[in-house]
Amino acid sequence: MRPSVIPGFGLSLGYTLTWLSLIVLIPIIGLFLKAAQVPLDEIVKIATAARTWHALEVSFGSSLIAALVNVVFGVLIAWVLVRYKFPGKRLLDAIVDLPFALPTAVAGIALSALYAKKGWVGSLFTPGGPLNEWIAAQTWLPFGLSSFQFDWKIAYTPSGIVIALIFIGLPFVVRTVQPVLEEFEAELEEAAATLGANRLQTITQVILPRLTPAILTGFALAFARAVGEYGSVIFIAGNIPGVSEIAPLLIVIKLEEFDQAGAAVIAGIMLLIAFAMLLVINLIQAWARRRFGDV
């Protein structure tokens, strides 16, 4: 290799690799070594168990939904924070980071209290709750709409898991999109306007494509964080095996049963799926970056 203009390549690469190994690679290799001690038919048995599959499904499924919801609302929040001036803006900006700082168990307990049947939000969607009573009172509504009743149990169901994962993933999307939006050239919007494009066309055809790489990054971060989340979810999930039991919880259960090998196998599967998904997102990002310019 030709010596680079920037000195210190060997040193910095060596340092990077050592650090990455100590912090990330060695623990992961240890995990796979542990899993490899398990005989193959045992691995297959654990991997194909219905309970394992359900847990993985719940984990990745709710993480995906939560990350998608976060993309929509995260971009909206970033937009509002960047584009408008209003009193309390700094405060709102700081609030966005709270899910980073709050112990996730606290968040889980708070959310389950809110979304439980008797909680402020949960009661709205419970039969006999205030919102349902109000709807029932609107007898003037056509098509028998007033007989419509919410019966949506949120806490202690998969819905609760999604809510918790939305909570912890939100800052990732906001914080990745915000700086890109801040640097967005006003001239591009002005150019679109002089060419006759209305606001909707400008946003969908000019602004959003430029935000795509940042949105993908935020999505990947929120998704990855959600897959690994444990603390907040176990308080709100209800943890019913096969219904609202997430994979990390299953791993903890295995550990408590002194089945370290089983835990390692499930962890290994999780890791592989997560890695594959992040790799795909990264590839899409690289493509988007080429396509839409570097962001």
């Binding site: 591009l188 002005e190 306007a193 002089t194 066309q201 396509r291």
Partner: protein
């Protein structure tokens, strides 16, 4: 399309960027807004485009009051200094953008949009590059794409904001000539902003010289160059020298020396005498300005010498043939051919 700007005032947080400006642009004219930075030239252009709203005053396109209309409705072609091309679109998509976003009723069919975009790329001499992305083009090519994109919507007026400001000198010159050609071929009423006087003089039918939110002078390049109406214009356009003089008895004096310049009808008093370095005649005798050479430098085919005139350190520059024998401390006598007096 004729443009009329009537008594326009624009304030940015109480600071006036434009102070009661009125201007008429004739149909099919290529007009330059020229001035130093902060003179309000870009603000005026953006007001015409509708990218800013005037604090007071009105802007007409023909007989129509454009100040009541949004940017989208004004149908102007606007070219930005930094190109403002859409990076997520190919060159062809950029040029067709303005047609594609039209409401269905006025949108041409797809094949027609493509045909027109390709035709415009041909006009700006970029045929064959329609599949490239803006990042893959040079600065000059990008600006030509920007112009094609602006022309695609069949604008009523074409507005260019320092269109060549980000380009290097060679490309600038080329594009300048080429913009003139395009203008002559398409006949759009065109307003462009520049701080480069050479560009303005070479390209424009008329110049609007601006300073501190006001229009100083409007005229053809000849008028503005040969008959500047204020010391500012004299200073800003072309090279100039200024000397403190007095007028007495219809004659211009520097100290106690008559200069051989008649100033009949000018009230006696103190003035500043402005002239251009190349508008001077060397004289051997008679009343004249006399100075000694204090410095010299080569300017293209001429030698520009700085003269110390009189005892009190006044200096002026004049142009001499590059092979003129004058050296340090040589005494030179000259008389300005074209000159103006402005009150001191």
């Amino acid at each position: 399309m004729e443009i009329r700007v009537e008594n326009v005032i624009k304030e940015f947080s109480r600071y006036p960027a434009l102070d009661n400006v009125s201007l008429g642009v004739r149909s099919g004219e290529l007009i330059a807004l020229l001035g130093p930075s902060g003179s309000g030239k870009t603000t005026l252009l953006r007001l015409i485009a509708g990218l800013e709203n005037p604090t007071a005053g009105r802007i007409f396109f023909g007989e129509e009051d454009a100040s009541q209309k949004t940017v989208q409705e004004r149908n102007v072609g606007f070219v930005f200094q930094a190109y403002a091309l859409f990076r997520n679109m190919t060159v062809l998509e950029n040029v067709s953008f303005g047609l594609k976003v039209r409401p269905r009723a006025t949108r041409p069919p797809k094949s027609e949009i493509r045909r027109r975009a390709l035709e415009l790329l041909d006009l700006v001499q970029l045929n064959g590059l329609e599949k490239r992305y803006p990042q893959q083009l040079s600065g000059g090519q990008r600006q030509r794409v920007a112009l094609a994109r602006a022309l695609a919507i069949e604008p009523r007026v074409l507005l260019l904001d320092e269109p060549f400001g980000a380009l290097d000198a060679q490309v600038r010159k080329e594009l300048r000539k080429w913009l003139r050609e395009i203008h002559d071929r398409t006949g759009h009423t065109t307003v462009f902003v520049t701080h480069d006087q050479e560009e303005a003089l070479e390209l424009a039918d008329r110049l609007v010289v601006m300073s501190r939110g006001k229009i100083e002078q409007v005229g053809t390049p000849d008028e503005v160059y040969d008959k500047p109406n204020s010391p500012f214009v004299f200073d800003f356009i072309g090279e100039s020298s200024a000397l403190p003089v007095t007028v007495q008895g219809g004659e211009v004096w520097l100290g106690d020396r008559a200069l051989g310049l008649r100033a009949e009808g000018t009230a006696p008093g103190s003035y500043r005498l402005y002239f251009r370095p190349h508008d001077v005649d060397l004289v051997d005798d008679g009343p004249a300005l006399v100075g000694v050479v204090a410095g010299a430098r080569r300017v293209a085919g001429l030698r520009r010498v700085e003269l110390e005139i009189g005892g009190d350190g006044a200096r002026a520059e004049i142009d001499l043939p590059h092979d003129h024998p004058a050296g340090e401390r040589t005494r030179i006598a000259f008389r300005p051919r074209l000159w103006s007096l402005f009150p001191a």
